[in-house]
């Protein structure tokens, strides 16, 4: 009984679904299994996946950051503008990352010190950062990024002998780090406590404010880094880069079973969610499934992600009630 219940947890289910979709793809769709395609399919969601990691931590702590994609855009625009004005790439990256930190600080400050809800704050900074991106770059598009850096971001360079590209490799490393932090450290415990019952966490001496601030800063930093990766990967810096990614990031995190109310979820689930969205998209496109149908599939998956565990537990409860009723008589 217990095994049944843990075995059917949604995050596990997403993992299983991911494997199933993958295997189906290998069996049914030619072109799917090719090294090129796999490298591409995973690299294609690298930025979303990277941003999904800190987002998972934020959502577990009951917060959200809708400005991630705008920060990606700002970082991309800034990278382009500085590159165009002759800065060295080695200088640009740290500067851009600092801007990411600053953006995260602003979000965090408004949430922890001014006391505004993160949803409201980051809807505001979503517009602000995207706006700044277009202030920085206007309608220009900057290209010609240095080959010696760009090659680390594109899907034609992989870790030798595998289909893992470097952005994906970085994602794997960071995912492991995030998983350890969330599930094995005191900080992780604190995040769950803050998300589940902030007052109780605060009374227990957890530095709620500082932790939230730090989370926003890390999210800003990772988003800015994702902006650099994006710029190099497409070789094009534009103010509208990554527009709308925030919904994709949130959808993958939610698909992975992270509870938006905070306090519940696993990093494994979030990773599985993000990869599922990526693999599914690749597979459906290869099979010429129309874009609108893909959109519908994403929606259905999201609904299923919350409905399925609910149904399972309802059935479980019902069976349990029946068992209890018969045994007590």
């Amino acid at each position: 009984m217990r095994l049944l219940r843990t075995g059917l947890r949604w995050d596990t289910a997403v993992g299983v679904l991911l494997v199933a979709v993958f295997v189906t793809g290998l069996g049914t769709t030619d072109g799917f299994a090719s090294r090129d395609n796999l490298a591409f399919a995973f690299n294609d969601i690298a930025e979303v996946a990277l941003m999904a990691l800190p987002m998972t931590l934020l959502v577990v702590a009951g917060q959200v950051d809708l400005s991630v994609a705008s920060m990606l855009g700002l970082s991309s625009a800034l990278t382009g503008q500085l590159w165009d004005s002759g800065w060295a790439f080695e200088t640009i990256v740290p500067v851009v990352l600092l801007v990411g930190v600053a953006g995260g600080l602003l979000n965090g400050w408004l949430v922890t010190k001014v006391g505004l809800p993160s949803l409201a704050v980051t809807i505001g900074t979503l517009a602000l950062y995207r706006g700044l991106a277009s202030v920085v770059l206007g309608s220009n598009a900057i290209t010609d990024f240095p080959e010696n850096y760009a090659k680390w971001a594109v899907d034609t360079t992989t870790v030798p002998g595998t289909f893992i590209t470097y952005p994906v490799a970085l994602f794997i490393v960071l995912a492991v780090v995030a998983a350890v932090v969330l599930h094995a450290t005191g900080l992780g415990r604190s995040l769950f406590a803050i998300g589940a019952q902030e007052d109780a966490a605060y009374y227990a001496g957890i530095r709620v404010g500082r932790i939230k601030l730090a989370l926003f800063v890390v999210t800003g930093l990772v988003s800015a880094f994702a902006g650099v990766v994006f710029t190099l990967r497409y070789g094009s810096a534009r103010a509208d880069n990554g527009q709308g990614f925030e919904m994709l990031v949130i959808a993958s995190v939610l698909l992975g079973g992270i509870d938006f109310d905070g306090g519940r979820g696993t990093l494994f689930g979030a990773v599985a969610g993000v990869l599922l969205i990526g693999v599914l998209k690749n597979l459906l496109t290869l099979n010429d499934v129309a874009n609108e149908v893909q959109v519908i599939v994403t929606g259905l998956l999201l609904v299923a992600s919350v409905l399925t565990p609910r149904l399972i537990s309802t059935v479980g409860e019902w069976r349990h009630r029946r068992a209890a009723a018969t045994s007590s008589n």
């Binding site: 809708l66 408004l110 001014v114 006391g115 505004l116 809800p117 949803l119 409201a120 704050v121 809807i123 505001g124 900074t125 979503l126 517009a127 602000l128 950062y129 995207r130 706006g131 700044l132 277009s134 202030v135 206007g138 309608s139 709308g244 919904m247 949130i250 959808a251 939610l254 509870d259 938006f260 109310d261 129309a290 874009n291 609108e292 149908v293 893909q294 959109v295 519908i296 599939v297 994403t298 929606g299 259905l300 998956l301 999201l302 609904v303 992600s305 919350v306 409905l307 609910r310």
Partner: protein
């Protein structure tokens, strides 16, 4: 134990005077937004007097009308500690459905609006049933619905566009006509707003929506029919969004599948700026409507003030942040002042 000792009655007085102050603070939520709005309009008007000429005011009201309507619908859901992210898609679907239905015919505006409302209510019914009977998180379900409805809409439209030329003139007149110089659209929005506000305040079922949002557990124990009410809120929000879709057709004439694409965040921010707590239980539709008006006015002001297009988004974002921060800070200050005042 000891005998009964009555508590002295002095604090009752303090309670009274504190009460009117508490009232003020609560109303201050709307007042501070209204204040921000007035400041913005005054500032823009001084810089560019034309901003408030006949056409200018008309445009301001017209621009806000649809967003106000959506914000009203959204508030009713948000007050119950839920959210409806699918509004943008619903508007898109309904506008397209209405366009398809009306184009090349002479269907009157009433019929078209009814169709829009029906389409919206149906979408709301699906989201609402999933949320209330499935007892699953609203955010996820309605994000899913956002994609599903959008997909259906695209799939149906296949890139088709309904042109103003095909839409019956009577429908277009609804979008551009006016009585006594006031266009129909804002009048309609105002009517829906006032009726909703009155309902939320003076009917048991309206108060129960607040109760559910404030504490679902307590609402359950108080015997509030939670599922029915939440479902009702979603159907209402959907119907209003659907209605907004038909008004969209009337106003813009041209519709494609992705009308109102991405509006969900704008609507949610209007509601939040308007002081409706995203965690439910507090806020009024008046506030949400003011929030919507503020957001659209920011946009209009910036273009009237000849702000460089590249700066528009950034300034709009900054103003939004400033508005909610000031509101929050004023509130905290007032609450603290109130506490200190009641000491004396």
């Amino acid at each position: 134990m000891t005998a009964t000792i009555d508590k002295p009655t002095a604090p009752a007085e303090a309670g009274r005077s504190a009460r009117s102050l508490v009232d003020t603070v609560f109303r201050a939520r709307e007042i501070s937004i209204a204040g921000a709005l007035v400041l913005l309009v005054l500032f823009t008007w001084i810089a560019e007097p034309r901003f408030l000429n006949g056409q200018g005011v008309k445009d301001l009201l017209l621009n806000a009308a649809i967003l106000v309507l959506l914000a009203v619908g959204q508030s009713v859901v948000v007050v119950t500690r839920n959210i409806d992210l699918s509004v943008g898609s619903v508007v898109g679907l309904s506008a397209f459905a209405c366009g398809k239905f009306a184009s090349g015919t002479d269907h009157g505006p009433l019929l078209v609006a009814l169709l829009g409302i029906a389409v919206g209510a149906a979408c709301g019914l699906v989201s609402g049933s999933l949320v209330s009977f499935g007892k699953v998180p609203a955010l996820v379900v309605t994000l899913g619905m956002l994609y599903i409805i959008q997909g259906v809409d695209y799939w149906w439209a296949e890139g088709e566009q309904i042109n103003a030329a095909d839409v019956p003139q009577s429908v277009l007149d609804l979008g551009s006509g006016s009585v006594l110089g006031i266009p129909y659209l804002p009048l309609i929005s105002f009517a829906v707003l006032a009726a909703t506000a009155y309902f939320l305040r003076t009917y048991r079922s309206g108060r129960e929506l607040y109760a559910i949002g404030s504490s679902p557990e307590a609402a359950r124990l108080a015997g509030v029919p939670i599922r029915r009410r939440v479902l009702g809120a979603y159907v209402f929000s959907g119907a209003v969004a659907g209605f907004a879709g038909s008004l969209w057709l009337a106003r813009f004439g041209t519709v494609v599948a992705d009308n109102a694409h991405g509006w969900e965040l704008t609507v949610v921010s209007a509601v939040v700026v308007g002081g409706v707590a995203i965690v439910g239980g507090t806020g009024t539709v008046w506030g949400a409507a003011l929030g919507a008006l503020l957001l659209t006015t920011i946009g209009s002001s910036l273009s009237v003030l000849k702000v460089d297009s590249f700066w528009e988004d950034a300034i709009a974002g900054a103003l939004l942040l400033a508005a909610i921060s000031v509101d929050r800070i004023v509130n905290v200050r007032m609450t603290r002042a109130l506490r200190k005042r009641s000491a004396r």
